[in-house]
Amino acid sequence: QNRAPARVSVHLSSAMSWSPYTDNGGTVLAVAGEDYCIVAASTRLSSGFDILTRDSSKLLQLSPKVVLASAGMQADMKALQKMLISRHVMYQFNHNKPMSVTAAAQLLSNTLYYKRFFPYYTFNIVAGLDDQGRGAVFSYDAIGSYERSGFFCQGSGKELIQPVLDNQLKAASPLVIPSKSDLTSLPLEQALDLVKAAFVSAGERDIYTGDQVEITIMTKDGTRKDSLQLKLD
C-alpha cells in the first residue's frame, strides 16, 4: 500500500534572526546627599567587541535640577531623550516652571510603560534635587518600574559597582533607631571620591566601561561638571 510520505516540518529554532535591539554598553550611577546629587556616566560606546567612540554622552540635563542618565541601546536612548525634551518644553509652557525631579520621574515611568510591548532598551536613572533641596535618585527597569533610593547604578558595570555602594552608603539595618533616611550623610567630596573609585574598579573588570567618566554635580549653588580619565583598554 503506498502511503504519502509523512511530512515533517523542521523548525530551526537556533537560526539567527534580526533583532531590533543592541547593547552599546556603559555604566551610569547616581548618589543623593543631604543637599547635593552626583550623577556619573562612562563615555565609551561599544558594539560587541568593537569600540564605536570613546566620548559619547549618556547624560541629559533636562533642567537645572534634573538629570537623566541612560545605559543600554544608544538609539533608544536618543529617542527617549528627544521625547522627554519635547514633553518638558510643553510642561514649561503649560505650568510656567521647569519640571521638578519627582514630576520628571513619573513622566519617565509613564513614557517607558507606554511602550510596554516594544520597550525602549534603556536602563535609566533620574537624579536631581527635590523641592526641599535634598538629593533624589530614581532607578528604572526597561518598562518603567521605578523606585526612589539614595544611590543606584545601571548598565554593564552595575553588578560590579552596586555592592560597593551598598557597603559604603547603605544603613547597617533598616531597623536602626533613629531611622536613617536613604540619603547619605557623606560630604560631597567624599561621595565624589567614592564614585570615582567605583568607576576605576568597574573599568578594570568590565570591558564595556572605560575611556572617560562624565560627572554632573547638582547643589543649591548650581550645576558643575567634572570628569575622570579611565583606562583606554
Binding site: 560597593v164 574598579s201 568597574a202
Partner: protein, 204 residues
C-alpha cells in the same frame, strides 16, 4: 537555569603580606529553597593549604573526597605534604581527565609556599588555571565579588586587615546574590597559625 547555579555559592580568596585568607558563604540550597545554613565550601587540605569549591554541591563534595584521597596517597609515598603549586596542578589534572563530562565545580586554591609567599589560584570546571597575586573569586554572582575585591584590595595587608577586607567583600558581595549568603566563614593563614572566624551577615 545553569547547572552551576543549582546550589549557590560564593568564594573569595585574597593575598596579604606573608598571609592568605579564603572565605565562603554558608548557604546550601536547591534552586530557590534553602536547605541548611551551615555548609561551608572551603576545606583544609594541609596546615598551609585550603581549597574552595563552588558550583554543583554533589560534584564539589565528590571532588573534595577524591582530592583528599590523592593528597593522603601523596603523603604516604613522599612522606611530606603537597606544596600549593603541586596541589593546584593536581586539581587541574583531575578536572581535565573529565574534559567531555566535567565536574561542575569552580575551584579556588589558597596557600602559603614554604618561604611564606602567598599562592592564589582559580580554575574553571575543566581545569584551566589562573594564578593571581591579589584575589580570586568564584560563585553564583562573580561580578558582585569582583567589584568589591577590585575596590577594596590593597597590597601588603597584615592578617587582621586582610580578614576585615575579605569579610566585607564577601558580606556585601553576597547581599546582592539570592543564592548565596546566610553567614560566612573566613580562614586566615599565616606561617605559624590558621585563624577561622564565622561571621553573621544578612540571614536571607
Amino acid at each position: 537555569m545553569s547547572i552551576f547555579e543549582y546550589n549557590g555559592a560564593a568564594i573569595v580568596a585574597m593575598a596579604g603580606k606573608n598571609c592568605v585568607a579564603i572565605g565562603s558563604d554558608l548557604r546550601f540550597g536547591v534552586q530557590l529553597q534553602t536547605i541548611t545554613t551551615d555548609c561551608p565550601k572551603v576545606f583544609q587540605m594541609n596546615d598551609k593549604l585550603f581549597l574552595g569549591l563552588s558550583g554543583l554541591g554533589t560534584d564539589a563534595q565528590t571532588l573534595h573526597e577524591k582530592l583528599v584521597f590523592r593528597h593522603n596517597l601523596y603523603k604516604l609515598r613522599e612522606e611530606r605534604s603537597m606544596k600549593p603549586t603541586t596541589f593546584a596542578h593536581l586539581v587541574s589534572s583531575v578536572l581535565y581527565e573529565r574534559r567531555f563530562g566535567p565536574y561542575f565545580a569552580g575551584p579556588v586554591i589558597a596557600g602559603l609556599e614554604d618561604n611564606g609567599t602567598p599562592y592564589l589560584c582559580g580554575m574553571d570546571s575543566i581545569g584551566a588555571m589562573e594564578t593571581a597575586k591579589d584575589f580570586m573569586v568564584q560563585g553564583t554572582s562573580p561580578e558582585s565579588l569582583y567589584g568589591m575585591c577590585e575596590s577594596m584590595w590593597r597590597e601588603d595587608m597584615e592578617p587582621e586587615e586582610l580578614f576585615e577586607t575579605l569579610a566585607q567583600c564577601l558580606l556585601s558581595g553576597v547581599d546582592r546574590d539570592a543564592l548565596a549568603g546566610w553567614g560566612s566563614v573566613v580562614h586566615v593563614i599565616t606561617p605559624d597559625k590558621v585563624i577561622t572566624r564565622t561571621i553573621k551577615g544578612r540571614m536571607d
